[in-house]
Symmetry: C2
Subunit: 247 residues, 2 copies
DNA sequence: CGCCGAGTTGATCAGGCTCAACAAATGTGG
DNA sequence: CCACATTTGTTGAGCCTGATCAACTCGGCG
């Protein structure tokens, strides 16, 4: 078995390790295949294993008792998730398979020991945590300042960047995205997402199928995102949902 | 000089190091005193030093070109900030002194080398990054789902937890907090903050002075935060600001 | 064929943002 | 020590965005 997984994608967490060490770790891993929609682990459960996704897509979902939901992150192959297990802390979010997935998992103390013995790996892990912090901060900026249309456009752009592939009609987002998912990313409701995407489709900015989105005009979308009415310099305020789950 | 700083507070980043090592690092540090309101470093500037606050309070502020602002974090003594310098990445946010401050700073490569040589420190750093990630996720949940009143109450509660001290009239928040700051924490405007705090003061939940807040009834506040009208089970939706700076 | 999940669409309405103007506290200079 | 500028905070009026409610369509599946 080679270290490479899925056509060149490799495990971010082990980027700094020697091939031998990585191979050894992969040998020690438990492989797990997950079917779409399945819960890989639930928020609050005490994390005893660290996961790495090797193929497919996983979303991390945080939910409040009142039913409000946020997708904190989409995981793509090569990325680790459930890292809080390293610190013997419970998982913060549900990990839900978006597609069929293959994952590797290790007992958290094995990962911890590896990090303790391989400082370069520790630095890599820190770097990726820090990068995620930066992303979250940027999302917070968007959440607290942008209008809904902007936030949806931005969420789409990020999905396109992470899971998009150029296709005949534009950038196809390869993973299934429900309107509720976009709402959970953008901090709005599936109703507003539906209306907004509807408008964009008539404007030929995007194309839609069931759980499928193709972005025909990414620049146009981001233009919309930047200024909803370019001739009108003053920004408009928006609303905020108080989530009662609807999905 | 002892390792302890400011009545027992010590440097989180070096918690796992031996006293000798910590002392040595502190010897190598450059001490810096900062006056209130001063900019310690600006977002975007290439970070060449890592900071640790030893006394006072620093806020990390992210701003968009349009003038929307978010306070991503309040730093208290013992905590590190500007950690992205470790990865030779520019600072993501402005670091602004809230009070008079004393800080230590090191060239980022010195911290990096320390982390590489002291894996336990790496794990500590990872833990704190992960904890901050969790906080940000929780804040995102609040931002995208709660109503403004809840978010302000929650922001106050966190400030009370981090910078509060029991006083004759309740928990005093020891650092100066402008309404604009609360707005930047809660994702709203200073106007709404003013009105909301006004209501709470007449309800004897809090007391206010200029840039000073005392929480008389924390439980009550959080109760308000949980359900704005307890008799009415259905949550109300809210609005969202589109920040044109006003502070 | 009934059920469920996903998506659509219309009507309603209120939360809180925007605009605007003032008041009070702080700082600065002469 | 007073006049003036700046920062911080207050309050009112208006109104827009987008949440909520509700009802319906479409497609897949057992």
């Amino acid at each position: 078995m080679t270290i490479e997984i899925n056509k060149g994608a490799c495990i971010d967490l082990f980027r700094s390790l020697t091939d031998d060490l990585t191979a050894e770790l992969i040998r020690q891993a438990q492989t797990r295949t997950i079917s779409p929609g399945a819960l890989i682990f639930g928020a609050g459960s005490s994390g005893r294993v660290v996961h790495v996704l090797t193929s497919g897509c996983v979303k991390m979902v945080r939910t409040t008792v009142r039913g409000e939901r946020v997708i904190t992150r989409y995981v793509k192959p090569g990325e680790a998730f459930g890292m809080s297990a390293v610190f013997d802390e419970p998982y913060r979010a549900d990990a839900v398979a978006v597609t069929s997935c293959i994952g590797l998992q290790w007992p958290s103390n094995l990962i911890r020991d590896t990090i303790l013995r391989q400082p370069a790996a520790a630095l890599d892990a820190m770097r990726s945590l820090d990068a995620r912090l930066g992303e979250m901060e940027a999302r917070m900026l968007g959440l607290s300042s942008g209008r809904v249309e902007q936030r949806i456009a931005h969420a789409l752009a990020e999905l396109a960047d992470k899971f998009g592939r150029p296709g005949p009609n534009g950038i196809e987002i390869l993973i299934p995205i429900r309107h509720q998912d976009l709402a959970d990313l953008a901090g709005t409701t599936l109703h507003t997402v539906s209306r907004t995407l509807g408008t964009w489709e008539t404007q030929r900015q995007i194309r839609r199928g069931r759980c499928r989105i193709v972005i025909t005009n990414l620049a146009g979308l981001l233009g919309l995102a930047r200024a909803s009415t370019s001739s009108d310099p003053r920004p408009r305020r928006g609303h905020r949902r108080a989530g009662r789950r609807s999905g």
